[in-house]
């Protein structure tokens, strides 16, 4: 357990020393969302209708952008080998890296989302659901993304490959996340969708830990 805490602490310290990286992800999130009114027109009703989808899809892409940092830096400078040698199960290592990635890249997106909900005119009733759905959904994105990031270690054009591997697997999270916000926006109960999202998270933790560990072991061989 102390190894997990140490690993998360290390990643957070590294991120805090280069705060620009985390800020870039948030900046991408905001700018990409700001493009939509230019693309589809500024009518408030239209923007309110597509707000949940736009915020979710953009959060997905922002998360994708930060994935290549998850293992690639450690792989390049060799610290990944040392981390794998440590007396900590590789599955736990994967989960620790995911937790750190979520704190660095996922949590800022969740915190920024009300601002974007405001500019896109999302009904106020849906805001708590949007926050809750993103808080449940972005860890899933980090977990699935970790498997993809571990698989492309050492690949040619890994950065281009990663979206092709990860985005199809993101679809269930996107569907459930948007469904929750849409339900809340139209006055229905969002609880079933949030429960399903939670189930997906609970399911993703063991599966991605095992798959990510298998991928990391192969990369380090």
């Amino acid at each position: 357990m102390s190894a997990v805490v140490a690993l998360i602490g290390r990643d957070l310290r590294l991120a805090l020393r280069t705060p620009g990286d985390s800020a870039t992800v948030v900046a991408f999130f905001v700018i990409a969302v700001a493009l939509f009114p230019f693309g589809v027109g500024p009518e408030p009703q239209l923007l309110a209708r597509i707000a949940s989808g736009v915020i979710w899809v953009t959060a997905l892409l922002a998360c994708l952008l930060s994935l290549d940092r998850l293992f690639a830096l450690d792989f390049e400078d060799g610290s990944l080998d040392l981390i794998l040698l440590a007396a900590c199960p590789v599955e736990l290592t994967v989960l620790a890296k995911c937790a750190a990635h979520w704190l660095i890249a996922g949590l800022p997106l969740v915190i920024t989302s009300p601002l974007l909900a405001l500019v896109l005119n999302l009904p106020f009733d849906a805001w708590p659901t949007l926050l809750g759905a993103l808080a449940l959904g972005t860890p899933i994105l980090s977990l699935i993304g970790a498997v993809g990031a571990a698989l492309v270690l050492g690949a040619r054009r890994g950065g281009v490959l990663l979206p092709l591997l990860v985005l199809p697997l993101y679809i269930p999270t996107l569907i459930l996340g948007v469904a929750a916000v849409e339900a809340a926006a139209s006055g229905l109960s969002a609880t079933p969708h949030l429960l399903l999202l939670g189930a997906l998270l609970a399911f993703a933790v063991p599966v991605t830990a095992v798959a990510g560990a298998a991928a990391l072991r192969q990369a380090a061989e």
Binding site: V147, G154, A155, T208, A211, E221
Partner: protein, 250 residues
């Protein structure tokens, strides 16, 4: 299964199976097409357009079952490090992707006259599209490494993650669809299938299966021959280097 870890054993079996598969496939194609185009009745609503089904539905079956085969090969490769499983997975993925593409294209051609549109974001269409992306990701990942073995193992992990995710995608897409588009296109089943339509369907499936086996074996033999060629070239290179250094020393 372990017996076929020896490529020689596999090649001998493959040489026996391949002509039979080709024969069965060819006969099934001929008979199946005759049934499909002439003997089976036209649908009372869809007319002759229903005959697209005989190309479309078996392609969808193949797309799914080849992905299952891919996952089994991936498990064999990861758990038992079976040397032929990697070769099989690498050979299978493009065939599966081709059947998925065939399914999507014929579905689109069928959708145009029936639904009046080439594409609908219907649950079933969308999940097949995702399956197509999973195939593409698998092919791209398997070819993304300089070390072919590393690519094969990474692709195997992806195939297994994909097979876990496939039902989740399927269900989530179903719910997504029912939320937004209640039953506007769920006419895919059409009328309950009749024996006169089921027979050509099964025949066409047998034809596809024969084609799949023939192409799979050909691709696996090619891959094995390529590996052997590489090994021989490496040996030859080493031999010339050794003689060269011997001449220098002498």
């Amino acid at each position: 299964m372990q017996r076929f870890a020896n490529p020689g054993q596999f090649l001998r079996l493959a040489a026996v199976v391949q002509p039979w598969a080709a024969g069965v496939g060819a006969v099934a194609t001929a008979v199946g097409l005759y049934f499909a185009l002439f003997l089976s009745p036209a649908d009372y609503q869809q007319g002759d357009t229903v005959r697209i089904m005989y190309v479309h539905v078996p392609a969808a079956w193949m797309a799914l079952s080849i992905y299952l085969g891919l996952a089994v090969a991936a498990a064999l490769s990861l758990v038992w490090k079976h040397p032929l499983a990697d070769v099989a997975a690498r050979a299978m993925a493009p065939i599966g992707a081709a059947f998925t593409a065939l399914c999507l294209i014929t579905g689109s051609l069928w959708g145009q006259p029936m639904w009046g549109t080439w594409w609908v974001w219907d649950a079933r269409l969308t999940s097949v599209l995702v399956l197509f992306f999973l195939y593409l990701g698998h092919i791209a990942l398997a070819n993304a490494f300089d070390d072919a073995d590393r690519g094969a193992r990474a692709a195997a992990v992806l195939a297994l993650v994909g097979v876990v995710n496939l039902p989740i995608i399927k269900f989530s897409v179903d719910w997504w669809n029912t939320l937004h588009q209640p039953a506007s296109v769920m006419r895919l089943g059409g009328p309950t299938i009749h024996g006169a339509m089921l027979a050509p369907l099964l025949l066409m499936w047998a034809a596809y299966m024969g084609y799949f086996v023939v192409v799979l074996i050909t691709r696996m033999r090619t891959e094995l021959a390529e590996r052997r060629l590489r090994a021989l070239q490496l040996n030859a290179e080493q031999a010339t280097r050794m003689t060269a250094s011997a001449v220098e020393a002498g």
